[in-house]
Amino acid sequence: MSTPMSTHAVHPVHSSEPLLSVRDLRVTFGRRGEQPFKAVDGISFDVRPGQTVGLVGESGCGKSVTSLAIMGLLPTRGNTVEGSAVFDGEDLLRLSPGQMRDRRGREIAMIFQDPLSSLNPVVQIGRQVTEVMERHQGLSRKEAMPKAAELLERVGIPDPKARLVNYPHQLSGGMRQRALIAMALACKPRLLIADEPTTALDVTIQAQILALLKELVVETGTALVMITHDLGVVAGLCDEVNVLYGGRIVERGDRHTLFSRPRHPYTVGLLNSIPRLDAPRGEALSPIPGSVADNLPWDSACAFAPRCPNALDVCVQQTPEWEGDDVVGLRCFNPMGVSR
C-alpha cells in the first residue's frame, strides 16, 4: 500500500550503529481483580550516538512508561515487561536490578518533568551532584566538588560555587531543572532520556532549557530520547520523531518530512488541532473527535479508528501492520494524502 518515504530521507547521523535498540517492547499492568492493561503494546525504535529521538503523544499513549521500562524503574509488582532494549550489546531488560543500578546515572541518565520532586529536599545541590560522581567514578567528595561547580556553570547556573550549598527549594524552577541536568551529565552518560523536561516550566524558561539540551547534544555527542506531548518542542529539537497512539508507534519520520508531509490521520489531527502562533488568525481548529476512551484494542483493529476521519471498514476489522523500517514508517490502512 504505502511505500516508505525513503526518497527524501537524508540522515547523516544514521551511519553509525544504534546505541540503544528497543524491539517489540510490551508493558502490561495487571492490577488485582482488573483487566490487564497494555500500556505499551509493541514499540521498536533505535537511538544512535548524537541523535535526538522524539517520542510524542498524549497522556496514556505509553511514552513515559516506555522510558521507565528501559530504565528499569517500573515497579515490578503486577507489571510484565517483554521485548528487548539492547544498549551497547546488552539487553537492559535482562539485567539484574544491581547491574541496572550500575548503568543508571553512569551510562544512561534521565531527566524528569518535575524538578522539585526529583531532587532530595534536605540535601544541598552540591552534594546531590557529587553523589553521582562518588558512586560511579570513585571520586572523593573533595575531588568531586570543583567538578560539580564546573557542571553547574556549564548548564548555565550563575555563581555556581555559591549555589553548591543551596537546597533545592532555594532555587527557581528553571534553576532546579538545570541542576537536574547537571546531575544527569555528571558522569558523561552516553544516553540521556528526558521525560517532559520542560512541561512544568514557563515558556521563556523552556526556551532556555531546550537551547541548553540542543547544545549539549552537539557538544558531548550524547544520544537524547525526548519524551513530550508538545509538537512544537519536537519540531525544533528532534532528528527523528515517533508519534505514539494507544501504546504503539503509528508514524515515524525525520522531523522535516513528518511535519511537512504527515501521513497518519492522528498526526495530521494533532497538527490541525493546535493553534499556531504564526498561522493566520481566524482559521478554525479541527479537533480530533472523541477521546482515548473510544480506543479499540490493537489486537483486532486500529486503536484510532473510532476517532479517525479516514477510517475504512478494514480499520475496525484488522490490525494495521508497521510498514517501514527504523528510519521512516507508518501504521495505517488509509493514510492522508500529502496535505496541509
Partner: protein
C-alpha cells in the same frame, strides 16, 4: 422568567449593544499580606500580585490575558469577579462597581459574570450529580421556579455544550477531562451570564481535546453573544481565541493590543521574548527564527524591581530611566501600530525603529548574604539566570 427563555443570546435580555464597554477596570490592586508570628500574626510585607491594572472589555469581545506563572493574571481574573477582594481600584461592570459590592448585593449580581476553571475535576464537587451542579446556580438566583421550564433548560444546557441529557444523572468522575470541562462551561452558562472569565480553560486537557473546548467556547460566544476574559499562559491559544490581548508581567500590563497586531508588531521587549520562545510545530520555522532568550527568572512579586519591572531581564534596557521610572501604558507612533495598541515601555519607538541595539544581560552578581539566609519577605528564592546560550 429567564428560566424559561433557555439559552437566548445574552444581549437580547440586556440593555447594551455589542461593542460598548462592559467592564472597566481601573487602578486595580491585589496585595496579599505576608504574615509572621507565633501567637499574633503581624504583617511583614506584601506580595503585589496585581499592582495597578487598567483595562476595558467590550461587550461581545474576547479579551485574552497572557503571561507566565506568577505574573498575577489568574489573581487579576478573580479580582475582576471579586472572588479575590481587591486591595484598591474599581471594576465597573455595566455601570456597577463590583469591587465595592459586598455580601448579598454581590451575590445577587454574580449571575451576570461567571467563571470557568482550569482543572475541571477539582472545580466540580465530586458528591453532586451534574444535574445538582447545574441546578445550584439557578436555584441561588431564583431561576428554577417553573419545574418543567427548568427541566427543559437543563437539557438545553447539556446539548449546548455537547453532552447527552443522560449525563445529568451522573457524577463528575464518570466523565473524561474534556467532558468535565464542558460541564464546567454549562454550569457557568446556567445562570445566563454576560461575562465569562475562563482561567486556563484548556491547559489541563490533552492536545486533541483542547481544540474541542476552544471551538465550543467560540461557538457559544457566537450563539449567545457572550463576553470572555480568557486567562492563559499559552500565547498561541490566547491569540487564536482573543480579539484583544493584554500581556502581563509581574502584576502589571506591559502591552495591550488587537490580537493579530500583537504578533505582527510586538512593541514591548517582554512580548518579543515571550513570542520568540513559543515553539512552533514546524521545523523550518524553528530552524530559522531568532530567539530572544531571557536571562533569569521572574523577580519576587513581594519585592519587585524599581522602575520598569522588566528592567532586570530586559535586553534593551537603557541606563537610569528604566531603573528609576515605572513606564505607563501609552499609545506609540510606530509603523503598523494602531491607536488601540498600548505599551508600557520608555523606549518602544526607538526599539521598533532599531535605534537601540539589543545587548547581553549580564547575570546579576549575587552576594553571599542574599543566598545564605532567607530574606525578610520570606519569599522563595528566585535566582538570576545564566547568560543566554549562544
Amino acid at each position: 422568567m429567564s428560566g424559561s427563555t433557555g439559552l437566548d443570546p445574552a444581549h437580547d435580555t440586556r440593555t447594551g449593544a455589542p461593542g460598548e464597554v462592559l467592564v472597566e477596570v481601573s487602578g486595580l490592586e491585589v496585595h496579599f499580606p505576608i504574615k509572621r508570628g507565633v501567637v499574633f500574626d503581624r504583617t511583614v510585607g506584601h506580595v503585589r500580585a496585581v499592582d495597578g491594572v487598567d483595562l476595558t472589555i467590550r461587550r461581545g469581545e474576547t479579551y485574552g490575558l497572557v503571561g507566565e506563572s506568577g505574573c498575577g493574571k489568574s489573581t487579576l481574573g478573580k479580582a475582576i469577579l471579586n472572588l479575590e477582594p481587591p486591595t484598591a481600584g474599581s471594576v465597573l461592570f455595566d455601570g456597577v462597581d463590583i469591587a465595592s459590592l459586598k455580601g448579598e448585593a454581590l451575590r445577587r449580581e454574580r449571575k451576570r459574570f461567571q467563571m470557568v476553571f482550569q482543572d475541571p475535576m477539582s472545580s466540580l464537587d465530586p458528591r453532586q450529580t451534574v444535574e445538582a451542579l447545574l441546578l445550584e446556580g439557578m436555584r441561588a438566583h431564583g431561576l428554577d421556579t417553573d419545574a418543567s421550564a427548568t427541566h427543559t433548560r437543563l437539557r438545553e444546557l447539556m446539548s449546548a455544550v455537547g453532552l447527552p441529557p443522560s449525563g445529568l444523572k451522573k457524577y463528575p468522575h464518570e466523565f473524561s477531562g474534556g467532558q468535565r470541562q464542558r460541564i464546567g462551561i454549562a454550569r457557568a452558562l446556567s445562570v445566563g451570564p454576560d461575562l465569562i472569565v475562563a482561567d486556563e480553560p484548556v491547559s489541563a486537557l490533552d492536545v486533541s481535546i483542547q481544540a474541542q473546548v476552544i471551538n465550543l467556547l467560540q461557538d457559544l460566544q457566537e450563539e449567545l453573544g457572550l463576553t470572555y476574559l480568557v486567562v492563559a499562559h499559552d500565547l498561541a491559544v490566547v491569540r487564536h481565541i482573543s480579539d484583544r490581548i493584554g500581556v502581563m508581567y509581574l502584576g502589571g500590563l506591559v502591552e495591550e493590543s488587537e490580537a493579530g497586531e500583537l504578533y505582527d508588531v510586538p512593541l514591548h521587549p517582554y512580548t518579543r521574548a515571550l513570542m520568540s520562545a513559543v515553539p512552533v510545530p514546524d521545523p523550518e520555522v524553528e530552524d530559522s527564527r531568532e530567539q530572544i532568550l531571557l536571562t533569569g527568572d521572574l523577580p519576587s512579586p513581594a519585592n519587585p524591581p524599581t522602575g520598569c519591572r522588566f528592567h532586570t531581564r530586559c535586553p534593551w534596557r537603557q541606563e537610569t530611566l528604566c531603573d528609576t521610572e515605572r513606564p505607563q501604558l501609552r499609545v506609540v507612533d510606530v509603523a503598523g501600530s494602531s491607536p488601540g495598541h498600548r505599551v508600557a515601555c520608555h523606549w518602544a519607538e526607538e526599539i521598533a525603529r532599531g535605534e537601540i541595539e539589543r545587548h547581553e544581560v549580564a547575570p546579576e552578581t549575587t552576594d553571599e548574604s542574599s543566598w545564605g539566609a532567607p530574606r525578610d519577605d520570606g519569599s522563595p528564592f528566585l535566582a538570576p539566570d545564566g547568560p543566554p546560550v549562544p
